[in-house]
């Protein structure tokens, strides 16, 4: 856990070339968020805490982009919104044919570095679910 008193800069995460999602939380009101801010969007407290989030969660929405402007000439590619187990929603790339409700885990790949989700096998996901339910 690190304190960032400065700023609307994020802690080191994939947008800075570090293979991680970072969850930001408010030590005062317990609000959690993802997009960087200098102050808590719920209570305004200005000393949020940052920590690396577990890159696992459930797909909230998925799309395969077939038509993209020049800088993203690698279409088709898949974009997902994932509700991470740490309580934040993140956007990432993923393997194709991912559907809402499925359990996924991310690694970070490419240059520039991007989060890339893939399906967790059903059996593995069950284990993770049990572990999660035992976590206070």
């Amino acid at each position: 856990v690190t304190d960032h008193h400065d700023a609307n800069e994020s802690a080191d995460d994939w947008t800075k070339g570090v293979a991680a999602f970072v969850v930001v939380s408010c030590p005062r009101c317990r609000q959690r968020w993802y997009l960087p801010r200098s102050c808590c969007p719920a209570c305004g407290y200005d000393k949020p805490q940052h920590r690396v989030a577990k890159p696992e969660g459930v797909v909230a929405a998925a799309t395969v982009v077939h038509r993209a402007p020049a800088p993203f000439g690698d279409a088709p590619y898949t974009i997902v919104l994932v509700d991470l187990v740490d309580g934040i929603r993140v956007m990432g790339r993923s393997e194709p044919a991912i559907r809402p409700g499925e359990h996924v885990t991310a690694n970070f790949t490419g240059d520039p570095l991007l989060p890339y989700f893939r399906l967790i096998e059903a059996a593995t996901a069950d284990v993770h679910n049990r572990e999660r339910s035992q976590t206070p």
Binding site: A61, V65, L81, G101
Partner: protein, 377 residues
């Protein structure tokens, strides 16, 4: 009390020849004339942003061009909700006595003034510059994510949205000035090329040129003034990553507008609802409470939104078929309901009474919401 006294909407389409100021000027002059006024009467000017203009001071720029000397003038930028936000602000300006005659303008050469790729890249910037855009996300992709959630949460397949695109086209076929007028079927929609799955080409609005303008006054002017009976806005998020997908702000904005005049949804004679994509229209219709959850497409298929239906919707053809030129695209719905309330639509006139209407627009990724209740007194 605020009145919509002047109404103008140009033809939309790929129509080279005018730049952004050219479209704005054309719409503005027509709206002033429609209100039976002269440019010298205008003492307030609100101008929407234009992606092909990128000017810091769009209202002062337009005022100089038109020879206006307003005492209040500023640009407004709230994505697709800009037009209705400007009308709501104009109503507040005349209600407060800050101005008597406020010109509200949008327009640009979005189709012919830049490439499609430039438009898509510019619009993608409503996403987060570090956490969304670098992933290759663009506006169709953001709305495709909404569609993925919408279809999954309601147990529907992508084809369930197709009737909305077909209905918009059916309206546009007989609307002078519409961008697209070739008839389409549900199978045309569901077999059109994938843009961002589950959205296909015919689920998406085109990029058009065009303009629209209104003159908002503190007393009825001209021969067709309509009363602004209620306004509502909601701004809950910017980025889809932080959106509450089941409570976007549309219901709140529409409820505020309707509660000011005491109307219910069932008392509306026609509606104009933002339809940048089929899913946009479905989500807004359902969150506002015009359709039951998951039933927007089925309601369209059943003919509810026809001009002869129980609730005529976007009778000009909407963004999906009349076209979308940015700020003016979101104003065209209000122009159309205004013309319906004036009973001036000729063969396009809705068959039932036309006294009360609701219009709603969203900007960004369901980020900015603006609703207006409008009445012919």
């Amino acid at each position: 009390m605020a009145w919509i006294s002047g109404v103008a909407c140009t033809e939309f389409g790929r129509l080279p020849g005018l730049d952004a100021i050219g479209w704005q000027s054309r719409a503005a002059r027509a709206a002033i004339a429609d209100a039976g006024l002269e440019p010298a009467h205008v003492d307030g000017l609100l101008a929407g942003y234009a992606t092909t203009l990128r000017h810091l001071m769009p209202a002062d720029l337009l005022a100089e061009y038109l020879g206006l000397k307003p005492t209040v003038a500023f640009g407004v930028s709230a994505g697709g909700a800009t037009g209705l936000s400007m009308v709501a602000t104009a109503a507040a300006l005349v209600d407060s006595g800050s101005a008597h005659t406020v010109l509200v303008v949008g327009g640009e050469n979005r189709a012919s003034g830049q490439t499609s790729d430039t438009s898509i890249e510019t619009l993608a910037q409503v996403g987060h510059s570090r956490y969304e855009v670098p992933l290759g996300a663009n506006v169709p992709a953001y709305y495709a994510l909404l569609a993925s959630h919408y279809l999954h949460s309601r147990g529907l397949d992508a084809a369930s949205l197709s009737p909305l695109a077909v209905q918009m086209r059916r309206h546009a076929i007989t609307t002078p000035g519409a961008h697209f007028t070739t008839p389409i079927s549900e199978s045309d929609v569901s077999s059109s090329p994938l843009i961002a799955d589950p959205l296909r080409l015919l689920d998406c609005c085109p990029i058009s040129d065009g303009g629209a303008a209104f003159v908002i006054t503190d007393r009825p002017r001209g021969s067709g003034a309509l009363r602004i009976a209620g306004v509502g806005q909601a701004h809950r998020h910017q980025h889809v990553s932080e959106a509450d997908l089941e409570n976007l702000g549309a219901a709140s904005a529409a409820h505020d507008a309707l509660s000011q005049c005491g109307w219910t949804i069932g008392e509306l004679d026609t509606v104009g609802i933002y339809d940048s994509f089929t899913v946009t229209l479905a989500m807004l219709l359902e969150e506002i409470g015009i359709c039951e959850r998951g039933k927007a497409g089925a309601d369209a298929a059943a003919g509810r939104f026809e001009r002869t239906g129980t609730l005529p919707l976007n009778t000009h053809g909407g963004l999906l078929s009349y076209g979308h030129c940015g700020v003016a695209g979101g104003m065209a719905h209000l122009a159309e309901v205004s013309r319906q309330l004036r009973s001036s639509c000729g063969p396009r006139q809705i068959s039932g009474p036309a006294r009360r209407a609701l219009v709603h627009a969203d900007g960004g990724v369901m980020s900015a919401h603006a609703s207006l209740a409008v009445e012919r007194t």
